[in-house]
Amino acid sequence: MSAILPPSDRLWWKQPLDRVEGTWIVIAFIWCMIMFVMMVGWHIYGKQNLSTETYKTSGAMFTAKAQAVVDKYTVRKETDKQIPVVHPPAGSDVYLVAKLWDWWPIIELEKDKTYKLHLTSMDYNHGFSLQPVNINIQVVPGYEHVVKITPNQSGTFSIVCNEYCGIGHANMAGRIYVK
């Protein structure tokens, strides 16, 4: 009798359970339930849950809204590309456009204030990877994802694209300042 032969006991499902296996199954089951409760519990008590607020959108629609915020709240321009730096009031909507191969515009936020960050892509999938915090969110074309963020530290943060999006992918970077 072995695992490569038919079970010698025709009624194998009636064999008693060994104590090692029984004990381990109970322990493993309890651990599985703890992990499940942990994930549900974090939705109730935790402060880091990814929002699911999503709208269908188009490139033109989203760009128009992003442009309106840029027109209203731009405080300066940076780099040779003259990328606008937007400083919106706390609690307001901020738009970030991912396109081959830029994040636009640069955003300036205030520490411990909450903002509604709208994300979409104009073309392929992109990846919003905030460094060095290491928060990573998928950015899918055609969908506007509204994420409430509350920066808890000040400094200069980079947005790296971490979803492959073609030949210029590795050069795609953006920035968020937190004051």
Binding site: M1, S2, A3, I4, P6, P7, S8, D9, R10, W12, Q15, D18, R19, V20, E21, T23, W24, I25, A28, W31, C32, M33, M35, F36, M39, W42, H43, G46, Q48, L50, S51, T54, T79, T114, L119, G127, S129, Q131, P132, V133, N134, I135, N136, I137, Q138, V140, G142, Y143, I149, N152, Q153, V160, N162, Y164, I167, H169, A170, N171, A173, R175
Partner: protein
């Protein structure tokens, strides 16, 4: 349909000679794809090693696409088809159903895999294995994958047909062996996987030739992953079956209890496929409830199943060893195991690495909120190299060392090298996975050509430790590739110039599996009423590492920016 049966003098296994040729053909093509994938791996690791940064960006992305597809799909599935034929026709001692159709399946898979490779190497299909729309590859890229999938599906049905024949011709009595049961689970998951692949790849193919206007990017991701992740679950079911088989072959170990092991396999059928959600946790548009239920395999029932297999396989070995008299202390059974036999050492290194590195990291990343701190970082390939390379590939390698004399009928060349190979390959892969996960924790992206980001003024300046980790990824990667090369040298070399062995007796009738007398369950050699106390203490070490690592990551998550 007439065929002959060969009884192997070394293992006592009986092979249908038609099935034998098919196993050989599928296994050989699998190894060829492993070779191609391994050569491509050199390009990948030497480019991601920052100090070398070898290939140009376009060549790198092309190489990475081909590496992923050749390893994850072609090497593994060709080998799995051989395993399915072995688990049905050989283990049940019956003729293979419709060998001609099985050759058709083989031909479709071969044509499909070559077509996709040609498409990738023409350079217009550097879309990665996932080929997320709206980024498009050449139509022949999708066509090749579809042909391959159809071939693999036909192979699955040949396997199922063989089971029917064995039942009808009464070549065995009672239930199928546990290993065959595991193969059935793998096959059921494979049918689900291939159907999902067809549902999404056919419209994408039609989009690439201009018939369909648009495939929604989010729908694509959702259904593609029902194919992409489930195909890895075929591997889990397949390599766990192989672990059980090797425990039986190397130790004569019998399952501690058929009921528990089969029950655990059953949980796989019911819950394992839900894990496609693991790839969608950071996506817009899917509800939290959907994510929580799916990512946890309902309520971690597939994790429970894997934890059970992780105990029962070494447990069965321990019981068998204790019966042989290795009863001193907790671990004499393990110390006195045949560590010089690559069939065993490969299997055991695979089991430990799969559990500790692949399993723990997989559950961590599959937790909805924790996923945000690793999604699309190089932590992800760190995890899946522990599951698919340490788990699946190393198990297949271990099984190959058993099959060289049994199926290939050749004496293994370079037995000294073979003894070393699982250690070199397995342990360098352990290290490779660990440093990749380390780099991912520091934010390094996967599928990314340049950590310096081409001098973009907004670029993130990665810490020195991240560069160090990526350098170590390069070194460990090269060591693992060397280990892979040794495996290919031994396998191909034995097949070509290994000493021919006695093929054994041929007969035109199958000998049914004799009915063995039921044996009493022996539990007299352990301690404290535990038949396998050593395995149980190893399991507790595993549990403690699991719990610690899990909560360390929650602690880390609690310190990042608030998100709601």
């Amino acid at each position: 349909m007439t065929t002959t049966y060969r009884t192997c003098p070394r293992s006592g296994l009986q092979f249908d000679t038609e099935a034998e040729k098919l196993m050989l053909a599928n296994a050989v093509v699998a190894v060829v794809f492993l070779l191609i994938g391994g050569i491509l791996a050199i390009g990948v690791v030497l480019t991601r090693w920052p100090a070398i940064h070898w290939l140009a960006a376009d060549t790198f992305y092309m190489t990475l696409t081909a590496h992923g597809i050749d390893m994850l799909i072609f090497w593994i599935i060709f080998f799995e088809i051989a395993v399915l034929y072995f688990c049905s026709s050989t283990l049940l001692r019956c003729r293979l159903a419709t060998p001609k159709v099985a050759w058709l399946a083989f031909a479709l898979m071969l044509i499909g895999s070559i077509t996709t490779n040609v498409a990738v190497f023409q350079g217009e299909s550097s879309v990665m294995m996932t080929s997320y729309v709206p980024m498009m590859a050449a139509p022949s890229f999708y066509l090749g994958l579809i042909l391959f999938a159809v071939g693999a599906l036909v192979g699955c049905f040949v396997f199922l047909g063989t089971l029917v024949i064995a039942k009808k011709e009464k070549t065995y009595t009672g239930s199928v062996p546990l290993v065959t049961f595991g193969a059935i689970v793998a096959c059921i998951i494979a049918v689900f996987t291939i159907a999902s692949g067809a549902i999404i790849l056919i419209p994408t193919f039609l989009m690439s030739v201009g018939i369909v206007k648009e495939v929604d990017p989010l729908v694509y991701r959702t259904i593609w992953w029902a194919f992409g992740h489930s195909s890895q679950q075929i591997n889990v079911a397949a390599h766990i079956s192989i672990w059980y088989a090797i425990a039986a072959i190397a130790f004569g170990a019998k399952p501690m209890s058929e009921r528990v092991s089969r029950g655990a396999f059953l949980l796989y059928i019911l819950f394992l496929q839900l894990a496609s959600a693991h790839h969608l946790l950071a996506d817009p548009g899917l509800s939290s409830a959907w994510k929580v239920v799916n990512t946890s395999y309902f309520m971690y029932f597939a994790v429970l199943a894997s934890m059970i297999h992780g105990l029962t396989i070494p447990g069965a070995i321990e019981v068998a060893q204790r019966e042989k008299g290795y009863t001193k202390g907790l671990f004499e059974w393990l110390r006195k195991a045949p560590w010089g036999n690559p069939v065993f050492s490969g299997m055991f290194i695979s089991l430990i690495g799969f559990g500790f590195l692949g399993g723990i990291s997989g559950v961590m990343m599959g937790t909805e909120q924790l996923n945000m701190i690793i999604h699309n970082t190089i932590y992800v390939p760190g995890h899946f190299h522990a599951t698919v390379v340490v788990g699946t590939t190393l198990s297949f390698m271990a099984l190959t060392y058993f099959l060289i004399p049994v199926l290939f009928k050749r004496e293994m060349i370079a037995p000294g090298l073979a003894k070393l190979q699982p250690y070199l390959f397995g342990l360098s892969m352990y290290f490779f996975c660990l440093v990749m996960m380390g780099a991912g924790t520091l934010g390094v992206s996967r599928r990314h050509w340049d950590m310096l980001m081409g001098g973009n003024p907004l670029a993130y300046e990665f810490p020195g430790a991240a560069y160090l980790m990526m350098g170590l990824v390069g070194i460990a990667g090269i060591a693992a590739i060397l280990g892979g090369a040794i495996y290919i040298y031994i396998t191909v070399g034995s097949l070509l110039w290994g000493k021919k062995l006695d093929i054994g007796s041929l007969s035109d009738k199958t000998v049914p599996i004799p009915v063995s007398a039921p044996s009493a369950v022996v539990h007299g050699h352990g301690s404290a009423g535990f038949a396998a106390p050593g395995t149980f203490s190893l399991a507790m070490v595993f549990l403690v590492s699991f719990v610690l690592y899990y909560f360390i990551n929650w602690k880390y998550l609690s310190q990042v920016w608030g998100l709601s």
